[in-house]
């Protein structure tokens, strides 16, 4: 009897995972390992703004983990995240910034989180987030909520949804103070050409 109870307790976590069929497969599916280019539409709702703000552009993800957000509307702005650094270039305002993500405080943490989400590297978030998912036909939906008792009160809730062939994706990041950012992304290209674009935009952002 005792042996049977011990076996039940030992297998309990496995039984728990068995209740979430397809999560591991889903997490693997949303992950980007190669180069890819997406067109995106961004909608931001800020606490201090009366109406949502919208922007459009291209998002490029590189083999080495670099991420470039090329905003084309309402004005052209390039933001690059590569390695531990971030570069920002606003040609209209002629403002160029660069810095270590680790030195940027809360902004740096947001940028790191953003990269994980966009590139689908959710494994980095598993220690701080609870995952729930739904798969309905070809559509899937993943919700990540900060684990209870987490020290970071400002950790956002994240929702990612997409289709079976992974060409369309929606990302919603909802901050604890009610602010939110939503991305509608459609994959437009992948392969070596994307790497060339990444290099070109990186050079432009650095100012070389």
């Amino acid at each position: 009897m005792k042996y049977g109870l011990w076996l039940l307790l030992a297998l309990w976590p496995v039984a728990g995972l068995a209740n979430e069929p397809g999560l591991a497969e889903l997490l693997g599916r949303i992950r980007h390992n190669g180069s890819a280019e997406f067109s995106y539409q961004e909608t931001r709702k800020l606490e201090l703004a009366t109406s949502p703000w919208s922007g459009r552009g291209m998002m490029l993800s590189g083999v080495d983990g670099s991420l470039i957000k090329l905003q084309l509307q309402p004005m052209r702005v390039i933001m690059v995240i590569t390695g531990q650094r971030m570069y920002y270039w606003d040609p209209e305002q002629k403002q160029r910034h660069s810095g270590l993500i680790g030195q940027a405080g809360a902004a740096g943490e947001e940028i790191t989180l953003f990269r994980f989400i966009i590139q689908g590297h959710t494994e980095h978030l598993q220690s701080t987030y609870d995952f729930t998912h739904q798969i309905r036909g070809k559509a899937w939906h993943l919700r990540m909520t900060p684990k209870p008792g987490l020290n970071d009160e400002n950790a956002p809730t994240i929702e990612i949804s997409g289709d079976e062939d992974n060409t369309k994706r929606q990302v919603l990041i909802r901050q604890a103070d009610g602010e939110s950012t939503e991305y509608q992304m459609v994959k437009t290209a992948e392969g070596p050409e994307v790497e060339k674009s990444i290099r070109r935009l990186l050079l432009e952002a650095i100012g070389d």
Partner: protein, 781 residues
């Protein structure tokens, strides 16, 4: 006490004394403790800044692309596909992470962006925006509170909220919608922007270390850890990069290593030379063994006494103290020369010579005491060290050495030329004295040509290579000059801050005139209550209903929240007090700019590139403020030391004369005893004047030492206690040789202090020795 018991007691007590020294002694290697005087306020300030100043503890690091390039690992091969500057940035980012893990690193950050703590600190100033928005509130009000510009400011706020810094701006805007608190920090932002725009081809990092700048041991370990972290990363990057370092700690470690080398070299060479001279003279290992034990006991006693009085012994005291072995050996040598020549038992010789030995020792102690009063802090230690070492050596020579030498056989070597020189002086005394008199007159005429050294830098070690590296590294930084700043003093912090704000206003004008490239002041990190009140008054006056309405209209047009940003609050009730600021992490930012002393508070405003003369002129008339140059301060100190050492030279000679008078009770004998040493000082000054040698206080101190040693020769020659002037002169020759051997070893040192002392003392004792038989008439046998 019998000889046997004297010997037993000595052999028992010596190891105990040695053990007590090892247990008690703390050797200080901090150069500042030795070289920087603390007898005036400026010196104390300089000393405090060198010891703990924020800038002094900083390393400037530059990572550049090297010449070598090997394929690294996969990650690095990927990184190599990045543009060159991005690859360098990526490498630097990793290096920053790695360096931050080193224990003695307080923080490390890229030079073109403020450390994270600074950004967090700026956010805490938002509630005080109405009290801290400007250094010149009346003047800036027309721009900052222009209702016509509010529309564009609201639009700017919106853009900032949607930028990557949105989170930072939002936190401030909720308390300070006009972002007034950021206005005071604009200069800081511009400084980082200037650094970012330098495009020097390297990645510039600033590393703030924890140990004081002159704690060389800690910095030696830290520099090794920095190099090791860099090498490990660079190896995996295919050795594509190279690292250069600069900063005050780099110099202090280099200086420390040179001094360490000097201490070892001088101690070893001095000991070996004295030993060889001794063996050459007496050819007795047994006597050498006992005399060295007596000297070792004297050295240990001097070290222990110094450690007990000062709490530590400086390594340079030990190096210069090692040369004292040569002086202290003189006393046993005189005893032994008389023993060997006259076959006297050592006890009889010690008794016979005791009055001369005691007087000789006393005059040497007087010389060292005068040295201690020159104001050079390191020499205070050496004076105490000499007092105890010489006293111990004298006492041991008188009461213990005879017991130790009881069974030793001494062979006194005949030194060639000694008797011949004494004989030559005796035969041609009249002619030589005429020559001497002419020499004295000529020497007096040359004295006005003497050139005094005014630049203390010339006494510093030759570090050209490190200086070049320093200049190369600093070229990558839009930097602040660490050795020059504006110093503001006051009795209390409020007055000091008011004065500092007046200086900053003046510096802004000088900056606009191109006299100064940049400066780091205390505003707005700290502001006087008076300035905060002025700001609050201007702010309150500017918040008219029309202004508030225009702001709200601007917000509506920009699409920003009226509820959250529309209410412009009146100034916060109380001022931001210095104690509140200094209890926060801001104290680390200001730690190198505030020094609290017994007489009030001193604030320093760091300066970028500037014209020293015009800047000093520009600050004229500002109460409590002055331009401070570390170099000028050191040069001024050098002048003070020189004047005091000349005074001490005169006082030292006078006191020695007084003591000799008390013993001899004959003014003629006093003059004759002092004459060889005083004449040699005069001739040496004349030689330096003719050669154009720049004479520093160290030269004078060396001569003071040589006088204290030469007077001994005069005393022995005049006393001639053995009633055999040949033996006496042989004894003097032997002690001159040991003095030359020990002080000559100082000449091998790379620290300029040591060769200067070697030259002065060696010249002084040699001339003094040669003049003795000429100036002091050969006493009748």
């Amino acid at each position: 006490m019998s000889f046997v018991w004297r010997k037993r007691w000595f052999l028992l007590l010596f190891p105990l004394l040695l053990a007590a020294s090892v247990w008690q002694i703390r050797v200080e290697t901090d150069l500042n403790a030795f070289f920087t005087a603390t007898d005036n306020e400026d010196s104390r300030l300089l000393s405090a800044l060198l010891k703990s100043g924020e800038l002094s503890r900083r390393y400037l690091l530059v990572v550049e692309k090297g010449n070598r390039s090997n394929p690294g690992n996969d990650a690095e091969r990927n990184a190599s596909s990045l543009p060159a500057s991005a690859a360098l940035d990526a490498f630097s980012a990793k290096l920053v992470e790695k360096l931050a893990q080193i224990q003695d690193v307080e923080k490390v950050w890229p030079a073109n962006e403020p450390p994270r703590e600074w950004i967090d600190a700026i956010r805490t100033y938002a509630p005080y925006h109405a009290r801290l928005f400007s250094l010149n509130p009346q003047q800036d009000a027309s721009t900052l509170f222009d209702p016509g510009k509010l529309e564009s400011r609201a639009e700017g706020l919106k853009q900032a909220l949607f930028s990557p810094q949105g989170g930072f701006v939002k936190a401030i805007a909720k308390q300070d919608p006009l972002l007034l608190s950021l206005n005071g920090f604009k200069d800081m932002q511009n400084q980082f922007q200037r650094q970012a725009n330098l495009k020097s081809g390297g990645s510039a990092l600033i590393l703030q270390s924890r140990p004081a700048a002159l704690d060389s041991d800690a910095h030696l370990r830290l520099q090794a850890a920095i190099r090791s972290s860099f090498d490990a990363l660079n190896q995996s990057a295919g050795e594509k990069f190279r690292l250069s370092m600069a900063g005050v700690p780099v110099f202090s470690v280099a200086a420390q290593s040179e001094i360490g080398r000097d201490v070892t070299l001088v101690s070893v060479v001095s000991s070996v030379a004295v030993t060889l001279v001794f063996l050459l003279l007496f050819r007795s290992f047994s006597a050498l063994h006992w005399v060295m034990m007596v000297q070792a006991a004297s050295f240990v006693l001097g070290t222990l006494a110094t450690a007990l009085i000062f709490g530590y012994v400086h390594s340079l005291t030990l190096a210069l103290g090692a040369s004292l072995i040569g002086i202290c050996t003189d006393y046993p040598i005189h005893v032994m020369v008389h023993c060997a020549k006259h076959r006297h038992p050592p006890l009889d010789a010690a008794r016979l010579l005791w009055p001369s030995l005691a007087m000789g020792g006393l005059t040497t102690i007087i010389g060292y005491a005068a040295l201690g009063l020159t104001g050079f802090p390191g020499f205070e230690q050496i004076a105490v060290f000499a007092l105890f070492s010489i006293s111990a050596s004298l006492a041991l020579t008188r009461w213990v050495l005879p017991a130790l030498l009881a069974k030793s056989t001494l062979h006194s070597a005949h030194l060639p030329g000694i008797a011949a020189w004494a004989g030559f002086c005796g035969r041609h005394r009249r002619g030589l004295l005429s020559l001497f008199a002419c020499g004295v007159i000529l020497a007096f005429f040359t004295l006005p040509q003497l050139r005094w050294m005014d630049d203390m830098q010339k006494l510093a070690m030759n570090m050209d290579q490190i200086k070049q590296q320093d200049a190369a590294v600093r070229a990558h930084f839009s930097s602040i000059e660490p050795g020059r700043f504006v110093l503001v003093k006051a009795d209390d912090i409020e007055t000091a801050l008011r004065r500092s704000e007046a200086v900053e206003r003046r510096l802004i004008t000088l900056k606009q005139a191109g006299i100064l490239s940049e400066y780091h002041g205390l505003f707005p990190w700290l502001a006087s209550q008076a300035l905060q009140a002025d700001n609050a008054k201007v702010y309150a006056q500017s918040l008219t209903p029309q202004f508030q309405e225009a702001w709200r209209a601007g917000l509506v047009k920009a699409g920003l929240s009226l509820d959250k940003l529309g209410g412009l609050l009146p100034p916060i009730a109380g001022p931001l007090r210095p104690e509140t600021v200094l209890a926060s992490p801001v104290r680390h930012i200001l730690s190198g700019q505030m020094i609290e002393g017994q007489n009030g508070i001193a604030l320093s405003i760091w300066l970028g590139e500037h014209d020293p003369v015009k800047l000093a002129e520009g600050l004229a008339g500002l109460e409590g403020a002055r331009y401070f140059s570390q170099k000028d301060q050191l040069d001024q100190l050098a002048g003070q030391y020189r004047d005091r050492s000349l005074l001490m030279l005169a006082i030292g000679i006078a006191i020695m004369g007084l003591f000799i008078l008390l013993q001899q009770r004959n003014i003629r004998k006093v003059v004759l005893t002092l004459l060889p040493s005083v004449a040699s000082v005069l001739f040496i000054f004349a030689i330096w004047a003719l050669m154009g040698e720049e004479v520093s206080f160290l030269h004078v101190i060396g001569l003071l030492l040589s006088v204290s040693l030469c007077v001994d020769y005069g005393i022995f020659f005049m006393d001639n206690r053995g009633e055999d002037s040949d033996v006496t002169y042989h004894g003097i020759a032997a002690s001159t040789l040991t003095t030359l051997a020990s002080f000559g070893a100082l000449g091998l040192g790379k620290t300029p202090t040591l060769p200067i002392l070697a030259l002065s003392v060696s010249l002084g004792v040699t001339l003094g020795f040669l003049l003795c038989p000429l100036l002091i008439q050969k006493p009748a046998r």
